[in-house]
Symmetry: D2
Subunit: 290 residues, 4 copies
């Protein structure tokens, strides 16, 4: 046992609400020598469900992970609870899909390189060739060029799923990937795929949202990061932000301002996801921000 070295765990749980859950979990963790450093909870009134995220640390060499898992299995049985346990040491394997506009891709890779975003990028897929990103250093991240036509779409989507499998990707990030996923593909990615939509949803769904915003004369534009579901642009929202515009802003100005909003909204959403701050409930996302 190495004195002082600790493993940091994150557990998220979901169960029907009733008295005693927090007591049960915190007691169980205390018995195993865990020190809770963060805990956030939410009682959803409509669904009568209880959600919780707990960060705790355990001195290495004291309690094995398998013992922890046994305890959570016991608690799951007691409280009819679903749960998910991870450690901050393990970096989620992430596959990034992109089209011609690479501002979100560049931003995610930068945050990863400087250690801000604790992901393990296992692949970049684009419907444009590598040459489009010639100024970008992808390091050892495999790049896949998968051009898509209406005819090749089913085959290319199958290849994307294959790449996911081969790379054991846990999360797919659509970083301004401008191909509409098929219903089947969306369904398969449900809950493990984050998309950035370049409007403040539910306003301006569909194509060319900045041009729609310009035509409507709104005074703020925004971007929305959401989980992908089979219902396009209707997935559970993770994060949104806006910036002020004026009548003098052209559609090009909106696109320019939009890039800044999109990249920061997507980066936040990815961080929330990998830090296990998000829990999907129905059409919504609980986000336990710090």
């Amino acid at each position: 046992m190495t004195e002082g070295v600790k493993t940091i765990y994150i557990v998220t749980i979901k169960c029907p609400n009733r008295p005693g859950i927090v007591a049960g979990i915190s007691h169980g963790l205390a018995e195993l020598g865990a020190n809770i450093t963060e805990a956030q909870q939410f009682d959803e009134t409509e669904s009568r469900q209880f959600f919780m995220r707990v960060v705790f640390e355990i001195q290495d060499g004291t309690t094995d992970r398998s013992v922890l898992e046994q305890e959570f299995m016991r608690l799951a049985h007691e409280f009819d609870m679903s749960w998910s346990l991870t450690t901050t040491a393990r970096r989620p394997r992430v596959l990034i899909l992109v089209s011609r506009f690479d501002h979100c891709l560049v931003d995610l890779l930068y945050r990863w390189r400087i250690g801000e975003l604790a992901i393990d990028p296992v692949g970049i897929i684009s419907n444009h060739p590598r040459d489009v990103y010639k100024n970008l250093d992808f390091g050892s991240i495999p790049f896949h060029y998968l051009p898509i036509t209406p005819d090749t779409k089913p085959a290319q989507e199958a290849r994307i799923l294959q790449i996911m499998d081969d790379s054991r990707a846990e999360l797919v990030v659509l970083a301004r990937y401008m191909q509409i996923l098929s219903n089947d593909m969306s369904h398969r990615l449900s809950g493990r795929c984050i998309n950035i939509h370049h409007s403040f949803l539910p306003g301006f769904k569909g194509a060319r949202p900045y041009h729609q915003a310009f035509a409507r004369g709104v005074k703020l534009i925004g971007a929305t990061a959401h989980y992908v579901t089979s219902d396009l642009d209707e997935g559970p929202i993770i994060e949104q932000d806006v910036e002020r515009i004026s009548h003098a802003d052209t559609p090009d100005d909106l696109v320019r301002k939009g890039r800044d909003i999109e990249r920061r909204v997507l980066a936040r959403a990815v961080r929330y996801h990998i830090e296990r701050r998000t829990i999907i409930t129905g059409h919504k996302t609980i986000v336990f921000t710090s």
Copy 2:
């Protein structure tokens, strides 16, 4: 002639874009001894229209208003220009319509009382009785109780128009007036009536927008002040703003946060209007903010 006393004029103009407009106007004003203190312009590319707002001051006793008007008539002829001239000394006569929720009314009256909003309130109309606002001091502003049922709606709308005429109101402010105006009424008020909608349009049109926002799980809520047109919730937007919410906010929390957004958005829109900072162009509003 009183030495040093000046009249401050605001003129807004609109004409087809072509070279020489600014030169023509500024030359004409200079010839008449006007000193331009603010000028804002906008060339709308799609419509090829030119819009301008000019604030200028004239020493009292030097140039009469009628001389100014003659000059603008001459310019209007030369540039095929529509124009509107006012002085900051003249306070627009404003009629305020309200329903049970009085936060926007209270806010507008407060801003008027402390001299922030240079309006002349000529009437308050509500579909609820005076007693609902018993804590509010309306001073000498006439209060009109006009309860509305489906049957009485046409008659009551006629009375509202009559009150507008009698009070010579130039602007009607729907300060959370929860009655849907008839098409005919909306049409008559077009361009001289500002409504506050309690959502970030075009999201969540129609009734109970905060409940819609709650159901959709958005991460920001907003409010929109717009000119009333016969197309409900589709009028030219003047001002919008938002605040951050989370999954933990109940519909009641959204209503509470919304009140703060609504009152500041409506107050800004009214100020922009009375300071002649707004010009409607098609479905949009040009807003020359300071």
Copy 3:
């Protein structure tokens, strides 16, 4: 016992950090039949202190408050813990101090009247006479006119303290009260007095902050709500907000924009305080926002 009627309690605690605190508290509450509906915690690394706010409900007729208090005394002994228990039914008694500018006062009273702010206003003190606020309906709230000169300051501060005692006020809100409190007075009010400073602290301490901001040419102005301590403008910050300004804004424009910021920042701070969301730690305030 009335079926279904519940009392909602809020407890805040503070103790040295160590494993088992959450387990101890939640177990103790579960044993007494309490259902935890909200819980927020914070481990302060520097001070090694643990802070927690728990909202829980208890079926009326099951567990008496005295039993709860015994349990918290037991926990306090076990964990070396200070704690504070209240119910949401009890409205804190609040004394409001104001000077000539009444926008914060008007705002607080409005929020109280419509039930947004669950306070019990027990007095309004001003160094200006009642007539200054002649448009305001204070209802049954006693108004105290305490003009202050350098000579009368000690006596008038003594009267303020007397009014606090007599009215059993738990919180004093300086709602743009423009008299500088003496060190002794500040010291006595420490932790139970909230001030709104009309700048984004620590920028522009002291007098005429909007004029300072204008002179410095900043691009955003703000307001700061903080607990009063004997160190003027250095008290623990509860809430801050800002708005954008430009070179074209005059000092009067800053004052106007500032009013909107001040009133919303102060109202939020008061709400956080009365909902027991704030805990002072050293020079800072922990704020458990929802």
Copy 4:
């Protein structure tokens, strides 16, 4: 003469305020066949100075630049006016200085590469070796490694000035360059050097502002882009922005959130500068935003 090809000019002017300036300039431009597409003006009350930025287009082959310049010389004589004329075709030559943290550098280069920022980067200077930025493609932009110790500072500053001269750089951007410039150097760069300070000035001047912000317990952090003057952190502010933080944010979290603020604030300031939207007046910057 090529039919339809236009040159777009930007002129900024400054002169004592008096009637007739706008008329004189717009008349002069109209006479020369210029079409004004944007015009912004500001009357500074304290200094009684008038400032204006005019964007106009001239059909190629009609009026030579030398003719334009003669007209502005004539106007300058008439109105005691200083002026500066440029075309949007000419990209300002920019030298970027950076230290270890490269987020602002990466951001500026990205905006330049995609055509958002119309600059011509003529050099990158760092006090760290090229290897620190090994993932970055600098293309053909020369990189200069100028390590600095107290002893070598004067010599290295001389080299920076030499590189400025050799590269004919018009603007120096301190993109988180962590060396304090000497008074002499600051003085020489006055008005043509933009710095990003990682705090919301005037709060938290000097070193380690995020740690200062953490210690003070503020609820928003910010960044400030300003022109460099010999008075450190006191130069005319161009742009500022903020983000919300909480008690739970560690100094590392502040640094992370700060990176996002810094890069967008600096990029806006650089864009305002190169689009001639900024005019320094005393300790302030007029910024004619769109």
